[in-house]
Symmetry: C2
Subunit: 407 residues, 2 copies
């Protein structure tokens, strides 16, 4: 396997130039076989910053200008969570292939609309779930497919990231998280952990999520932070709806369970809280450890099974894409995964191949957010998870996408 940037030249537009958008724009602009023709942000200063990054690109504050450019084949959406799907739908209708930054949906209905438009137009709509391409997660996928864990039974993940500062300063820093945390209460950001788990459990390819239950703790962390750090503003007394810890249990058609935790407003170190459980073993992110029955050595003095560091296992089973990536030379962006997920989209467009994260995956992952809001509001009542594939999920298959970036 070898990486390259020598596909057919792809003309793209980039919409949304906040911190994340500009970071991704740098990576896209740097690709030899991609040309950024236009950049857009509603704020003029951000638009100008984008134009400086993508030298020669047109700048606009109205994304419709980009959708109207016939020479643009694909667009990237890095706007606020709440506008992703709306823009994606308009873009597909305008004949563009779409890649979209992560974030939860506003409603299940807009997810269905997104799928319908993708089917009507034949355009791609790929969620740029970078964690699907992270070194550890890809390696785990490799281990799972090689049977290291036996039959999978249960997976866990989290978005455990103390964002009090970013959220609390959202009004000043023009960051959309603040309004979401003040008004909503649910699993607002499920895809960093659920994206990789979806590949582990073959969701949409012979398995699917059937139902979920969500519960939210009280909301104390952000409120306390605002009291202390924004005492001079109305935010000090603002009602915070988002519970500090939102827990979600998901049941799958093939009997597996998934546990998610959304955890952004209390002090704690970052974690994606990964846990993989199978009939032959367990991997746990938080202690960087693994136990594989019959293989992990028993430590002297341990009355129970022993843990061992996951380091050597991750090395032994490293996914070939990551070996190829290291040889190619690190392009940056969260350690490389940003680059890889962007390339996965670019090359699937260049080669007219299936996106490794297709519109059905995108809808499935994004729909979790509004479904958890409903369940939280109903005291944890089970909520059915729709099948966006119209029954096509029952066809088991080994991977999605083709070639280097297949998942």
């Amino acid at each position: 396997m070898q990486l390259s940037e020598n596909g057919r030249l792809l003309n793209v537009g980039v919409i949304g130039l906040g911190g994340r958008g500009r970071g991704q724009l740098k990576l896209i602009s740097g690709m030899q076989d991609v040309k950024v023709l236009a950049v857009c942000d509603v704020y003029e200063d951000r638009m100008k910053q984008g134009m400086e990054i993508a030298q020669g690109a047109i700048g606009t504050q109205d994304y419709h200008d980009i959708l109207n450019m016939p020479e643009i084949e694909a667009i990237f959406i890095f706007t606020d969570w709440n506008s992703h799907i709306r823009i994606a739908i308009e873009a597909m209708k305008a004949g563009k292939e779409v890649a979209m930054e992560v974030g939860g949906a506003n409603s299940v209905d807009e997810c269905f609309d997104m799928v319908a438009v993708a089917e009507e137009t034949g355009k791609k709509c790929m969620l740029l779930e970078n964690c699907c391409y992270n070194d550890t997660e890809l390696t785990l996928l490799n281990m799972i497919r090689k049977g290291v864990f036996g039959e999978l039974v249960h997976c866990q993940g989290a978005y455990a990231h103390d964002l009090r500062d970013e959220i609390g300063m959202g009004d000043v820093k023009r960051h959309y998280r603040q309004q979401n945390f003040l008004h909503r209460n649910g699993e607002l950001y499920p895809t960093h952990e659920l994206g990789p788990i979806a590949t582990y459990l073959n969701l949409g390819r012979g398995n699917r999520m059937l139902s979920l239950c969500s519960m939210a703790s009280k909301a104390r962390g952000l409120h306390a932070w605002l009291k202390e750090n924004r005492a001079d503003t109305d935010l000090a007394n603002a009602q915070v709806n988002e519970g500090d810890i939102v827990t979600t249990m998901i049941s799958c058609a093939n009997g597996e369970t998934i546990l998610l935790s959304h955890d952004c407003t209390l002090p704690r170190p970052y974690s994606r809280g990964g846990v993989v459980r199978g009939t032959k073993g367990v991997w746990m992110e938080d202690n960087h450890s693994i136990h594989i029955e019959g293989k992990t050595p028993q430590k002297e003095g341990d009355w129970s099974h022993s843990w061992e560091s996951d380091k050597e296992w991750l090395k032994e089973y490293r996914h070939p894409l990551w070996d190829a990536y290291e040889e190619f030379g690190n392009r940056g962006g969260h350690g490389g995964m940003d680059y890889l997920v962007l390339r996965a989209f670019v090359e699937s467009v260049q080669n007219h191949t299936e996106a490794p994260i297709d519109v059905y995956d995108t809808a499935m992952l994004m729909a979790i957010t509004p479904l958890t809001e409903q369940s939280v509001a109903m005291g944890g009542a089970p909520v059915p998870i729709p099948d966006f594939t119209h029954g096509q999920w029952i066809h088991a298959r080994k991977q999605k996408g083709e070639g280097t970036y297949a998942l």
Copy 2:
């Protein structure tokens, strides 16, 4: 604080002499101020083993013989899970103070019956939840009460213990777990983690659990084990009802959430999966780590908050009972907690003081099991958790029990 065994002499009977019962009997028999007058097991060989441990004690295979002995003031129940409450009720009616090994209830109704009989008779009915007296858990309680974690928001715990061997050999080894795992599907063993969490969150003393949702994964681990290790028996093809991982979310009156995991039939190292989350910090058992805002040093190179080992914190905040216990000399039994919980009961009977785990706590903790079975059967639907205190839980108070063993 100083420990001793110089209370008034307490005459007791011990019912149930399997592995656990005999271990506890050794500790009880060794106490200077306790006399074991009678021991009981339905199996003759176990009864005789008990008589060898408690020299001078009468042996019987019918526990009613013990309940009929007027000179016995208190009884200890170490029988199978399913008979605890039935025997406890009969014992209280016979005028005995009751201590009971842990395990879940069969039904909510029997928990209500147990409470009613305790109220009618004025007898104690204490769950011997040893983990409430474990070094780490008591120290955490101390830290929580001293405000180290700020306002508590969320707690987690698990019974993560690979018991495939014990369960799979249950028919041969006369162990009750086998029938429970074959027939039931729920959080069968919640109290080792929930007992301590109940103290952290003041459940029954100004707070209470309101509702829960449970989900079970498919059952694969035990079945695979039986196929491999009991191929010559009907068990190789037996239906296993208990899911490998049963997850339970609980909501509390004061807004906290609790997450429990029952995890006994897949390979893994032991853990009680403890997590404490508050507005000022986090403690996590699986990586033996803590992060306290403004106190935990930031490690160089960490882009997120840093973890630090919990070792020094646990040392600094060690519960005085454990210092006293070490000075007194380790009496054994799961590192000491067995001895301490037994003494907590013995001294509360000797001194006619409130048991630190009273019948309301006992009912509350044990009722979780049948409630989770109901929720699992209904796809995770929320199930109300009854108030066994008849409204008395709203009275906040600092502790239960008095003196040395107060919780």
